[in-house]
Structure formats: C-alpha cells, structure tokens
C-alpha cells in the first residue's frame, strides 16, 4: 500500500497517541511508570511533529486530513500547515521540558496514589491542545476546549490544599463562563451559516457579508466567540482567575497552564480569524480593534498589578496577563507582520514563562516554602541553577537583546509601522510596558542575588535533581537560540499564515 502518505497521518497519530496514553494510565500502578509513559509519548510526538514541520516547510504546503470516511462538509477534518506544525513542536518541546524538569514537584506535592491521575490529566491536556491546534471544525474545537478546561482545573487542584481548591473554583467558574459564551457563539453561527467546518463557514460568511444579510447577528457572534476566547486566555479585564490559581498550584501545572494552555486558545483565535471570519470581515466588524485596545490595556495594567505584588508566583501570573496583552495587540494590528509577531511571541512566552515558573517554584522550595520576595533574598546562591534560569527568563521578559523576548518586541515595533493609525499607540504602550516590566523583574532579580547576612541562615546549597538541571539548561539554551537564530522561525510562521488564508 504505497499510496499511504504517512506524513499526513502525523496530526491524527499525535492526537490519538496522547489520548491513548491518557486512557491506559489508570491501569499503571505507580506514578513513576505513568511519568515514563508520558515522557515517552511527548518524545514521540515531538519527533513526529518535527518531521511534519520539515516536510510541510520544504513543500510549502498545508493539507487537510479526513477524520473518517466522509469528506469535508459531512465528516470531521484536521488541517495542518507550517504554523500548526510549528506550534505542535513548541507545545511538545515545552511540555516535555516542563514536566520532566518539574517531576520532582509532582512527586513532592501530589499524594502518591493520585500521581498517575495527574499524568492522565497531563496526557489529556496535551491531546486536547494538539486537537485545538489541528482542528478544522468549530464544534470539535468546542469539545476539546471543554477537555482542556477540565484537565487544567484538575492540574490546579492536584495539590489538594484548601487554597488550591479556592483557586480551582475561581478558575472553573470563569472558564465555564467562557465556554458558555463560545458555545452560544457557535450555535448562532450554525444557525446563520448552516455549517460547522471552517472552510465552508468562511464561504458562507463571505456570502452573507456580500449580500448584507444577518449583519448584526454576525457582529454579535464574532463578539461572543472572541470574548469567550479572551476570557479563556485571560485577556486583561478577565484575568482575575490567574493569580490565585497559579499561586496555589504545583509549579509544573502553573508552567504548563501559563506557558501553553492560554496559548492554545489564542492559536485557535488566530485560526478562526484567518480561516472562518477572514481579516476583512473582522476589520469591518471592528472586533479586531476592540481586541487591540484590550491588548494595550492588558499590557499596562498587567504590569502595574505585577508591580504591586510582593509574592513571586502572583507576580509571574500578572506578568502573564501583560504578555497575553502583547499577543492580542499583535493580533489587533490586523496586518500580516503583526500576526507574525504575535505568533512569535506565543513561542517566546511559552519558552520563557514555563522556565520562570519552574525556577520560581524551586527557589520557593529552597527558601522554606515562603514566596514573598523578601524571603527569596539570596535564593540565587542557594540554588544557582534556578537563579540563573530565573535571571535569563526575567531578562528575556524585559526584552534584553540576545534573548527571545527582544525579538518579539522588535517585531511588534516593526509591525506597528505597517498599521496606520495604530503606530503611535503601539510604540508608546510598548515603551511604557517595557519600562514597567523592567521595574518589577529587575528588583526581583537583584533580590534573589542579594547575599543574606542573617545569622540563623544555616541552609547550604540544596542538591538539585539532575532532570531539573538538564531542563533548565535546555530552556536557557532554547531561549538564547531563539533570540539569535530566529529567522527560520519567522519564515515558517509567515508561510503558515499565508497558507492559512
């Protein structure tokens, strides 16, 4: 059967492999075996995704994959192109480094008999993220959004403390509100277009706009879907769920949730903009400008909130709010280069924030479980590796050249030139936001490298697990590599976006 194109099967294989590992994990007796299965799955998916990426990039193509025996308007469909493949590579790589590096936190914080449940959730979460990345059907997207919601709540509550329960409840209520909005949007969209698959929907919407039918419902629908996605991805006015949840969760969960889960919703949003609503319609409906304004507000307000915070994990959570603001600002510029910058920032933030959460978790653990920045003084000397990781992450977030954060900010600034009428706002807010970033990240970096002269400080260096060390080194390497050798990635993203249209 030489006519089977195995490369085209990769999206299907990766989603189903992740789901399969999730399903069989309850049968495994020990958490350590579950961890090995999870790690193995991530490695396999990573290799497959790299293969897929190389292939689609060389051929410059995107393809659809029929899920079942029935072609597009009747059956489900997956779609893969350079952008999707790149995101799958990023998701699997960051997830691999985060869960392997954070394995000691899982072993420490989660009760032993429930550790394999935690790995079920990680597997399902990963499968759902891949499905959201590859899907070409809006209702499938909704179902997998729900899986993602449940799995992320489970990751937050896995610690089992009272505080984590409160964080989970808050997170659950707000995410369910978001899912409700998305579902309502999907149903109205179905009622006016009669389709569920992206390409058919796009045709129907273009026809509706051309004929001037259902203009107001279309506006409301777009608003609903994007407000729902904004709630789920914690865009500025809807960010209240993040700090409590990330503070109370296992550091590994915080890293995965902040670095990847929020991004997969945004990626879905980008796919919707290009392959369902199309940029012209979005511009005509002004929704994209609203996203732009909220993105700008988030950039400033997230940083302001972060400055007022004395606890490090909450500070990082608010910093995520600011970074999400950056991404929405890029989307809001509605130009191709703005979108490229936004996608590159997804990469940059995923690589950086997961590392920051891991290092922060390690330093907090070494400093006796207290996370006020005051107690973290000298943490860099107690655990140099975590300290270096945190410093690199912070510098990258601030936008120091050589690190990946600088490149995305550079591209945002470049993109603003091509966005008439938005240039001044982008540049001013970008400047303010970078200064604010520096104002809260640098003091904490200085704090962790301040020697403590206390007499009762008998703690010596704490031995780090080798896995953590390897992962932090890999993260730092990735950060610097992406900061220097970024052109191919930009090219891949650009090609992906062109193919998406």
């Amino acid at each position: 059967m030489e006519h089977i194109n195995w490369i085209h099967n990769i999206p299907f294989f990766s989603i189903f492999l992740a789901m399969f590992c999730g399903i069989i994990t309850p049968l495994l007796k020990k958490g350590s075996i579950a961890r090995m299965v999870h790690t193995g799955m991530l490695c396999v998916v990573f290799c497959m995704s790299v293969l897929l990426l190389l292939n689609v990039y060389q051929n410059g193509e995107s393809f659809t994959f029929m899920m079942g025996h029935f072609p597009a308007p009747w059956g489900n469909e997956l779609r893969a192109g350079p952008l999707e493949a790149l995101m799958a590579v990023t998701f699997s790589a960051v997830m691999l480094l985060t869960t392997v590096g954070g394995a000691s936190f899982i072993a420490h914080d989660v009760v032993p008999e429930k550790q394999n449940f935690y790995y079920i959730m990680l597997n399902a979460l990963f499968g759902a993220m891949l499905a959201l990345t590859y899907t070409n059907d809006i209702f499938t997207a909704y179902v997998f959004i729900e899986i993602l919601t449940i799995a992320s709540c489970a990751l937050i509550m896995a610690k089992g403390t009272a505080q984590s329960m409160v964080g989970t409840t808050h997170y659950l209520v707000i995410s369910l509100l978001g899912s409700g909005m998305i579902l309502f949007g999907v149903s109205i969209l179905y009622s006016i277009t009669g389709q569920l698959l992206f390409p058919q929907m796009k045709e129907a919407i273009i026809q509706l706009v051309a004929s001037g039918q259902y203009t107001f419902p279309l506006l409301v629908v777009t608003g609903f879907v994007f407000i729902g996605l904004a709630i789920k991805s914690a865009l500025f006015p809807f960010h209240s769920m993040l700090p409590g949840a990330y503070q109370a969760a296992v550091p590994t969960s915080s890293g995965v949730l902040s670095g990847l889960v929020l991004k997969s919703y945004i990626l879905l949003g980008i796919k919707l903009i290009y392959s369902v609503f199309s940029v012209d319609v979005m511009l005509q409906l002004k929704i994209i400008d609203i996203l732009f304004v909220f993105g700008l507000a988030g950039m400033v307000m997230g940083s302001v909130y972060a400055m007022r915070e004395t606890r490090m994990k909450r500070m990082l959570a608010y910093s995520s709010v600011a970074q999400i603001g950056y991404i929405y600002m890029g989307i809001g510029m509605a130009s191709r280069i703005g979108m490229v910058a936004a996608c590159f920032h997804i990469l940059a933030h995923a690589v950086t924030k997961s590392m920051l959460f891991l290092c922060c978790g390690q330093m907090v653990e070494d400093s006796g479980g207290k996370e006020q920045i005051y107690y973290l003084r000298g943490a860099g000397f107690r655990n140099p590796l975590a300290g270096i990781g945190f410093t690199v992450g912070a510098l990258s977030m601030v936008g120091v050249p050589l690190f990946v954060g600088f490149i995305s900010k550079l591209y945002f600034a470049t993109a603003s030139v091509y966005a008439p009428g938005k240039m001044a706002a982008v540049l001013i807010v970008l400047g303010i936001s970078m200064v604010l970033n520096a104002l809260y990240f640098l003091p904490s970096v200085i704090a962790i490298w301040t020697p403590v002269k206390k007499e009762n400080e008998t703690q010596t260096r704490i031995s780090v697990s080798p896995a953590f060390g390897v992962c932090i080194v890999a993260f730092v390497f990735l950060n610097i590599m992406l900061g220097i050798y970024y052109r191919p990635f930009i090219r891949i993203i650009e090609m992906g976006i062109i193919l998406l249209q």
Binding site: M1, H3, I4, N5, N9, F12, F16, M19, F20, G22, I23, I24, P26, M66, M67, G68, H69, F70, W74, G75, N76, V111, K114, F117, Y118, I120, M121, A124, D137, F139, V143, F144, I147, I150, A151, A154, M157, A158, G160, T161, I188, S191, I192, T193, G194, Q195, F216, V220, M301, T310, K370, Q372, Y374, Y375, R377, P443, I446, A447, T450, K453
Partner: protein
C-alpha cells in the same frame, strides 16, 4: 519630596534586605503603608464585590444589556421551523438520504454522531472519563483528604443503615431496579434503531444501580463492581472505542479497504461499528454514573 522617591526607597530596601527589620511581616506591613499611587488602584473585583448593592446592580445591568442585544439578534435570525433556513442544507440532506446506506443506522442521529462526526463523540466520551477521574482525585480518601469528623459521619451513616429497614425503598428497589436496568440495556442495544443510544441507556442503567445501592447498601453492589472492575471496565471500553475509531479514521483518511459488514438496516445486528460503540459508551456511562454516586456518598468505589 518624600512621595517622589518611594520607588527608589523600595529598591534600596530590596537590595539592602532591610536587615534592621527582623520579621518580614513587619517589613511588608511597613512597605505597604505609603500608598502614593492611589490613582493607579483600579477598583479591584474584590472591592466591588464588597459593595454588594453596586455589584448586584452592575450584574443586573450587564444581563439586561445582554438580553436586549440578544433579543435584537433573535429578531433577525432565521424564522423558527422554516424549511429554507441556512441550517437545512446539503449536509443535512446527505445525512438523511444516504445515512442508511452509508452507516446502516435507521436512527439518523446515532448515525451522525457515531459515524459521520465520530471525532466529536470520541472527545465527549473522554470528557466523561476525565470528569470521573477528577472526582476520584477530589473525593477519594487520601492523606490530604481525611478528617475525623467526616469519618465519624460515615460510620454513623453506616450504623444507621444497618438498623434502618427501609422497607418501602427495599421492596420498591427489589422490583424496580431490574426493570430499570433492563430498560436501560434495551435503550443501549437499540441505539441505532430507535431513540436513545449508549449515553442515555447508560445513564438509565446507572440510575438503576444507584437505586439498588441506595436500598441495599454499597456492599451489595461492590460484590460485582469494585474499584478494580470499575477501572477495567472503563479503560477496556474506552480502549475498544479508541481501537474501532482509530481503525475507521485511519482507513477512511487513507482510502484503504474498510470491510465492516453493515447488515440489514433495521435489524439488531446491523450498522457496523455503531452497535459495539453504543455498548461501550453505555458501559462506561453506567459505571461512571454509579462511580459518581459512590464517590459522593462514601468517598470510594
């Protein structure tokens, strides 16, 4: 002048570590005292919530605005029950006209969710599986989820159960639960022929099990459904589902041979994979529903 260099002071405090202060709490309390940036403090959600009346008013306002906007939308939407609405298009026509020959199911909804759009349904059964795992994580007894008071309560409840004869419930359950379970099995097995299917039938079976457990105690159900069998049934069924669907997706997408006999439409043994899938879903759902009940009452299956 004092107000202007607060930030510098803060930075200095951080760098120097303020060793004069012995306790961090004092230090933090002191650091929080000067609040020069009052204008930056946007009304946080907690603050609005503390002002209950304002918060309620805002919520009602938001909901009213929402309802008004949506009413306008509804008044522009396609007419209810009209045959020429956008939703009634070629997609629906194929499901209805070719459904029987392509899926073999005479219940078109079953054919649609288990064959045409089976990926969604696969996701859906995973949601259910994840939910029961979440409830297990939350409610199963472990070192972090145990309290003396609750142990006492459960012991009391069990003691009460032992003394209480619950005659009406037991007589009712004795005759009703087999009938309910039988009906559930009927609904599962006829999923492709009549309304129902794996999910509804499974929850009916689950309801029957719950009634039985409520009347005769958990021990009576535990004889045939303990945690081990629960895991094996759920995982086994989900894996069967997974295998069937991977086979059908793989063969479908790569256009290689797919030879599942469809049978004669209308017969019980027909419709290819739909019957086994319904049975799998039914078993999972029945176990899950009973599992929810058991975990909610005594924290174990």
């Amino acid at each position: 002048m004092h107000k202007k260099n607060t930030f510098l002071q803060k930075l200095k405090a951080w760098v120097n570590g303020e060793d004069t202060l012995l306790h961090a709490d004092e230090y933090i309390a002191k650091r929080k005292q000067p609040q020069p940036k009052q204008w930056l403090r946007s009304p946080s959600v907690e603050k609005i919530k503390s002002n209950r009346a304002l918060y309620s008013f805002l919520c009602v306002l938001v909901a009213m605005v929402f309802i008004t906007i949506m009413m306008v939308v509804v008044s522009e939407l396609p007419t209810f029950g009209n045959a020429s609405n956008p939703g009634n298009n070629e997609v629906m026509e194929r499901y209805l006209e070719k459904g029987i020959e392509e899926t073999g199911a005479i219940n078109f909804v079953a054919g649609m969710i288990l064959d045409y759009r089976a990926f969604d349904t696969f996701g859906e059964s995973n949601v259910l599986f994840l939910a029961v795992i979440c409830v297990l994580m939350l409610l199963r007894r472990d070192s972090k989820n145990i309290s003396a008071a609750e142990e006492k309560e459960i012991a009391e409840d069990e003691a009460l159960d032992a003394v209480d004869h619950k005659s009406i419930l037991q007589v009712g359950a004795k005759y009703l639960s087999p009938v309910i379970i039988l009906y559930g099995i009927y609904v599962i097995l006829n999923g492709h022929l009549s309304p129902g299917g794996g999910f509804s039938g499974g929850s009916i079976v689950g309801g029957g099990l719950i009634l039985y457990a409520a009347a005769f105690g958990h021990q009576s159900v535990q004889r045939f459904l303990n945690f081990r069998t629960f895991t094996w049934i759920s995982v086994g069924c989900l894996l069967t589902y997974f295998a069937c669907k991977s086979y059908s997706f793989f063969t479908g997408a790569n256009h290689v041979g797919y030879t599942i006999p469809k049978g004669i439409p209308g017969h019980i043994l027909s419709a290819g994979f739909i019957l086994p899938l319904n049975i799998c879903v039914g078993l999972i759902v029945a176990c899950t529903m009973y599992g929810f009940y058991a975990l909610f009452t005594k924290g174990d299956i």
